[in-house]
Amino acid sequence: MTALIGGREITRADVEDFLYDEAEILDAWKYDDWLALFEPGARFEVPATDWKGESFFESGSFVTDDWDLLRARVKRLKSRKAHAENPPSRTHRMISNVRLREADEPGLLRVTASFIVHRARDGEFDAYVGRYDHLLVPGDEGLRFRRRRAVLGHEHLTAGARLSFIL
């Protein structure tokens, strides 16, 4: 599977590598490296589990970070005073079903993929399952997020399910 974006050829393997790299970075709590995967002005979104629409301004959600909030989130996660992540959750991410799709806007690549994030903390082990629906920008240094969206497959977040870590 290949997409041609702004004269660049992007293969599914390119996208998979990008997503696998990101998973490794997040599982290792390297938040600065993670933020570097976003282009300035990018967004990070986790919709509410009962929301089917597109615009997060019309609905409640779990995360609707603009660039300011995204940077504040990273700064917080790096702090020892982010109590919900101190000590940090141990996460283990698996990504599959990666698909390249056409984005509405030229120059953008829409990528969907399935994810499972297992999270261990406080003697509990919780699974988060869902679908990524990202908008990526191909650039000289590789792919970057313009919009990183994680759509949970759950009907609701089960006990212990606060999203203090990155989904």
Partner: protein
């Protein structure tokens, strides 16, 4: 250890000592399944409970299904436009009647034997009805949908009671009612619940969630990173001159004036220059509509209102409705909705959603630390379970009692609102010797507040 009233619950659940100026809560209250069951029977089955907001079922035939006090319900607006709350259980043999979470329908059909009911509760069809006809006239009537015994609403907030013998809702809400009216007065066009519900579970007792919301003391240490973020955006958070009130009937209130702006009512730098202009215009309109005195209460103060036992209204930068549904002694389901002005312009709405979700919500920059707190309490109190040394298995909520005996209004960073909550709790549970008081209680408790 069976209690003196034979309930199986221990005495001395709440111990207040006015000589030592201490107030202590027995930690069995957070972890005991017997206490949980007693709460189900004596609180959740006997008092008004917040069900939902009228605007969640805005048009005739809209419905939501929702579990309240462990009972599955259908919350709907019937074909005539009336709000209804039905037990979500087929009168025939008890099957869950509606297995959808939300939607629009005039008829609910049970899949099991295909009995069909109108959303007004009447039986619409029973397959092979003739077989029942011999039973006589009353059969269909006896098979109507089972209503929740009481349903009333105030300013769009719909409450139900499983006990028919509760006082009228307004009487029950008492001083809490006006704070709900204030919310409805924020915008001329009224408020509506937005779609997109934060539904999440917490590994902690429901009362820890109430305590946390009534606890200004934790704000600075627990939300250190969030306070840092606010400071960077040019807003200095303060705990000065902010107060906590017991409103009676278990309801309580924090009045916060130094914790953040209020979208379209009280501007702060992180809201941006455009919002400043919009705020000035809206604020002037509020002065005209409500008069400056009332407008000041409605617009310039943030409120966290707890309506006993399952509703929290976070009237802060924006407005978030939070409903608590205990599922076990150590487990609570939480549902949170955003309440926003009808017809709000897109920029303000975007700012509102960003601001509220970043603070009050399980994926925000602050609420995860609150959840961490009540989950950590739930785990931590195991350390003293069944400890026989006197006073060991108790949590302390004495902060502010020194002022209370002097008749000074309790601050938001004291624990007076919590004390009011626990006194009401122990009373509602009806355990003999549940409350142990020693020393002289101050003659006058500082309760209520005149904002009219």
């Amino acid at each position: 250890m069976p209690g003196p009233d034979g309930t199986g619950l221990p005495g001395r659940l709440v111990v207040e000592d006015w000589d030592a100026l201490t107030f202590r809560v027995n930690r069995v209250a957070y972890r005991s399944e017997e206490v949980f069951q007693a709460e189900r029977d004596r609180i959740w089955a006997r008092t008004w409970l917040y069900l939902g907001h009228e605007t969640e079922v805005a048009t005739p035939n809209d419905f939501k299904t929702r579990t309240l006090g462990g009972r599955p319900l259908i919350f709907c607006r019937d074909a005539d436009g009336d709000i209804q709350a039905w037990l979500n259980s087929c009168p025939h043999r008890g099957t869950i009647l509606c297995r959808e979470r939300e939607g629009s329908t005039k008829l609910f059909q049970c899949f099991y034997h295909a009995w069909t009911f109108r959303n007004s509760g009447d039986v619409a069809a029973i397959p092979g009805k003739d077989a029942y006809e011999a039973a006589g006239e009353g059969f269909l009537d006896s098979m109507r949908l089972r209503a929740v015994p009481r349903l009333e609403s105030h300013e769009g907030f719909v409450f139900v009671s499983f006990d028919p013998d509760v006082p009228p809702l307004l009487e029950y809400l008492g001083d809490a009612a006006d704070y709900m009216t204030m919310i409805s007065q924020q915008h001329e066009a009224g408020m509506e619940v937005l779609p997109g519900t934060q539904m999440y579970g917490v590994r902690g007792n429901w009362k820890l969630g109430v305590e946390n919301a009534m606890d200004g003391y934790h704000f600075s240490p627990t939300h250190n990173t969030f306070v840092g973020y606010l400071r960077e955006t040019g807003f200095a958070v303060t705990d000065d001159d902010q107060y906590a009130y017991n409103l009676g009937n278990g309801h309580s209130l924090l009045v916060l004036t130094g914790h953040g702006g209020r979208i379209s009512m009280l501007w702060e730098p992180r809201f941006g220059e455009d919002e400043k202009v919009r705020t000035e215009a809206h604020r002037a309109e509020m002065d005209r509509r409500l008069g400056p005195e009332r407008a000041r209460y409605v617009a310039d103060e943030s409120h966290i209102l707890f309506v006993w036992p399952n509703l929290l209204l976070f009237d802060l930068e924006g407005l978030s409705i939070r409903q608590l549904e205990p599922v076990a002694a150590d487990r609570t389901d939480v549902r949170a909705w955003q309440l926003a002005p009808r017809g709000e312009d897109a920029d303000t709405r975007a700012l509102r959603m960003k601001t509220m979700v970043s603070f009050v919500g399980p994926g925000g920059l602050a609420t995860p630390d609150d959840i961490e707190a009540y989950e950590a309490v739930q785990r931590g109190i195991e350390a003293t379970a069944a400890d026989t040394r006197p006073g060991m298995d108790y949590s302390d909520m004495s902060r502010g009692m020194v002022d209370e005996v002097k008749g000074v209004q309790g601050r938001s960073i004291d624990e007076g609102a919590m004390r009011g909550f626990w006194r009401h709790w122990v009373d509602a549970l009806g355990v003999e010797d549940g409350l142990a008081v020693s020393g002289d209680r101050p003659e006058r408790f500082l309760e209520g507040r005149n904002v009219r």
